[in-house]
Amino acid sequence: MSWPGSWINWLGPVRTATGGVLRHKVQAVAIGLVVLVSTASATLGLTLLAASNTPFQHAFGAQDGAHVTVTVNAARASAAELAATRHLGGVTAAAGPFAESVVQTQFQGQPFGQMTLAGRGSPAGPVDDVVLNAGHWADGPGQVVLDGSPGGGGPGLGSTITVTGVPGTPVLTVVGFGNSVTSTADGWVTPGEITRLQPPGGPPSAQMLYRFSHAASYGEVRADVTEVSTALPPGAVTGVASWLAAENQATSNGAIMEPFVLAFALIGLAMAVLIVGNVVSGAVVAGYQRIGVLKSVGLTPAQVVVAYLSRVGWPALAGCLAGVVAGNLLAIPVLNNSAGAYGVGSQQVPWWASVVAPAGMFALVLLAGFGPALRAGRLSAAEAIAAGRAPRAGRGYAAHRLAARLRVPRPAGLGLAAPFARPARTAVTLAAIAFGATAVIFAFGLNSSLSRAAASQTLSATIPVQVEQFGPGIGPGQMPSAAQDAAVTAALRAQPGTRHEVAVYGNEVKVAGLAGNVFARAFGGDAAWTGYGIIAGRWYDAPGEVDVNTAFLDQSGLAVGDTVTVSTGTAQVTVRIAGEVFAPSSEPRMFGSTQTLPGLATPANLREYDVALRPGVSAAGYVQAVNAALGGRSPWQATAQHDGGKFYSIASGLVGLLAIMVAVAAGLGVLNTVLMTTRDRVHDLGVFKALGMRPGQVLTMVVCWIAGPAVVAAAIAAPAAIALNTATVHAMAGTAHTGIPASFTQVFPPSRLALLSLAAVAIAVAGALLPASWAARARPAVALHAE
């Protein structure tokens, strides 16, 4: 007999034995479902890991980012001269010239800041391919596409933005949102629109976007810029933006994101492995009785192993394939969020994640099934039948004995004792619930920590209103007059809603022992109320004291309590460091009073006025009243501060989404475990029902099967989530070059932690309810004969 024929003969009984797949629909569906969810989680986890790996560099390559954006005075360089720069030696690609205008804007009647608008007929091009996130590209007058994403309290699609300081104060309708990887503009309009948006008297401006063969370092970029500048008439280049600055910013955001993305990805992967291992090995064990029968009719051990691996293999294969599709679909909203947080246009599921996740999960299924299948192959027929019928005798008896004496309803006692009959399965289920609950508690904690960080960074709670210089009465290079400054103080003091107000000056100072300059903020009055987060020490409260940020201490080697000499340009003073404040930056920062830092309080250094409001005063109403008092031509304008930065809101959204996914996966893991246990104990369920157990009592008992492990999981998840949150927040802060106030991680008061710990019970009960309902509805006669 030839080999193929033998092989077919050998496989024949295996095929017959495996034919049970379709007849065991519930088990096949359970395996398929859990593998689907796990593969989807794994695909997403791997995708997130890939997305967190140099996202800017990937996006920069994919979007042909501009190494250099050169702003030119279009009156000094002709179109032909600009076009000629495309052929310079180091230039590999160029786009432009795109006419641009820097304008002041308002949104919903409030100052919206200064925006650089560029006129581009299309988002695509050889350099700076703008990814359109929403809406469409501007194709007519009065339309604008904004850099970024809609939402977050800012303009959305269809919103209007008013351009002030331009004749006719044109109104632009937001028709789209796009992302330029190096943020070459804040918004794009049609090329013809720019003329209408030019402030009167200003020179016409245009931007050229270049890619160079060598632009990896600041030195190379400087050489590239020199090459372009010298090719153009003198004075034509008015501004240069290097891709390295954008890379720094994006890398910093990405690095902050990485710790929690990594934490969620690892939780998801670990849970997927646990759940799949649990369900698959359980399914093979559940088939032991059938294995015994098959052996008794002549199947060899090898045939048994192959039969049972293929029995779990087919539904698992279907689950893997469906899971990779689901993972790709789920990744779309998650990647949109992460792309926003990383500041890149878009991110894709890497091809290898769509291969590694299903292949790895399938291998895991076979591995998880192989052990029990091998054991089944070695068992005698009689042993296999006995092993498949019930959990090992003796297990859980003591627990039942104890539960019988508990003063709880009997069905609850029976349920609480049940997990002890299958300790391995219980341990794995407990771990899955603990992972899910940890993710949920961690997500809430991280969200609170991020909110505190955002509030502390923007100081929106303590400084709800700021008065800044971007009113219509100021042009480029102009400075408000002393009278205009005095008018601000008068207007603020005249408002009954003002609780505190302080003028803030800022300039660079020299600090002994630190190379380079240190940016110092000097407050022209009491500023203890501004609410900077204190990491160590205290806020300065006497002349001669200052506070500094973490970067200052790290770079100077000084500590809180040390003294240091500061040169402000007009004076040299010795100051004592009273405290370390939360001011995330890689650059050193100093905070003190104008009395401590003499020479800073000059009109040229006046940056803003910070305002605190009396309780109950509306920030929006206050801002309107102050701006009305300042008049329409004042260079100063009051604005209401918003809660958090874009990064924090996107990061919070991503945290929530990931937590929900992990919790759902954990719930499905519980569902499958309870389903398997229900099938294991279907005969006992029939007996219980025959003895008078009501459907409600069955439901209670089955839910209680999982309640005990859930409580233990909650007890594990709570401290694990606290530790994970603390480590993650510290890691995030470390990448942002800052320490953190202790309050950022103290986000779990006991009552809140107790409430959040219920997440474990909620995940368990939600997962158990469906199989518990099936068990409750099953007819006793059917259950009794379903063994």
Binding site: R410, F688, L691, G692, P695, R779, P780, V782
Partner: protein, 228 residues
């Protein structure tokens, strides 16, 4: 129809699959209070189906079933469970004891499910274990008992809620002859104390020895009713 019937089946049909022959076909039957009725017939004749329907473990496709004065064919699942707990005790051929509960906990279980007080349930269980002669095994697990002892535990469990009706499905089928005779005598004593009993059996000797009436089923229909 008999006066004072504890069980009354009226035109009961049970079909498991559409198109397939019914397991029970238009069966009408009464069992009087205090009677011992044996149900006999070959495999597939509908004996177990009849027992399941009378116990409220399953529902008829058509017809009505009244037990202890209640129409059970139209009860909800919860009401059926309450009915089973209070009015029916079931003894299975293979005992169906719960392996992970002690003898005493097995016996206590129906009382606890029915909401009996702890003290009352324990007293009743103790009394029954003593009556069945297995009190010294109260803390043992079923796996350590002989077949006869297990069946005595099952009988004690069936009786713990003092049901009006005791249903026994091949109660001696898994026992040796001597043990089977002992269990038979125990059932006879119970009946002498007023317990209504329905025995499903293959064993003509058991039916003849203990039943006042034998109902023979064939292909789901009543083939004969034979008084003792």
């Amino acid at each position: 129809m008999q006066q004072g019937a504890l069980i009354r089946l009226d035109g009961v049909t049970k079909t498991y699959q559409a198109g397939a022959p019914p397991a029970l076909a238009d069966l009408s039957l009464d069992v009087a209070t205090g009677e011992v009725a044996a149900v006999m017939g070959p495999s597939g004749s509908g004996k177990s189906t009849l027992l399941n329907l009378v116990a409220g473990l399953d529902r008829p496709t058509s017809g009505t079933i009244t037990v202890a004065g209640r129409r059970i064919d139209s009860l909800s699942e919860s009401a059926l469970a309450r009915f089973r707990a209070r009015h029916v005790g079931i003894i299975f051929q293979f005992f169906n004891l719960l392996d992970d509960l002690t003898v005493q906990d097995n016996v206590l279980l129906p009382a606890q499910l029915a909401g009996a007080s702890r003290r009352t349930a324990r007293a009743r269980a103790g009394e029954l274990l003593e009556r069945m002669g297995i009190e010294r095994h109260r803390d043992d697990y079923p796996a350590r008992l002989s077949g006869g002892q297990r069946q005595r535990v099952a009988i004690a469990r069936a009786l713990v809620n003092s049901p009006e009706l005791l249903l026994a499905d091949e109660p001696t089928g898994a026992l040796d002859t001597a043990t089977g005779l002992a269990i038979g005598r125990l059932l006879q004593q119970l009946n002498a104390d007023g317990q209504t009993l329905v025995l499903v059996t293959h064993d003509p000797a058991l039916a003849e020895r203990y039943a006042a009436r034998t109902v023979r089923l064939l292909d789901g229909r009543l083939a004969a009713e034979v008084p003792a």
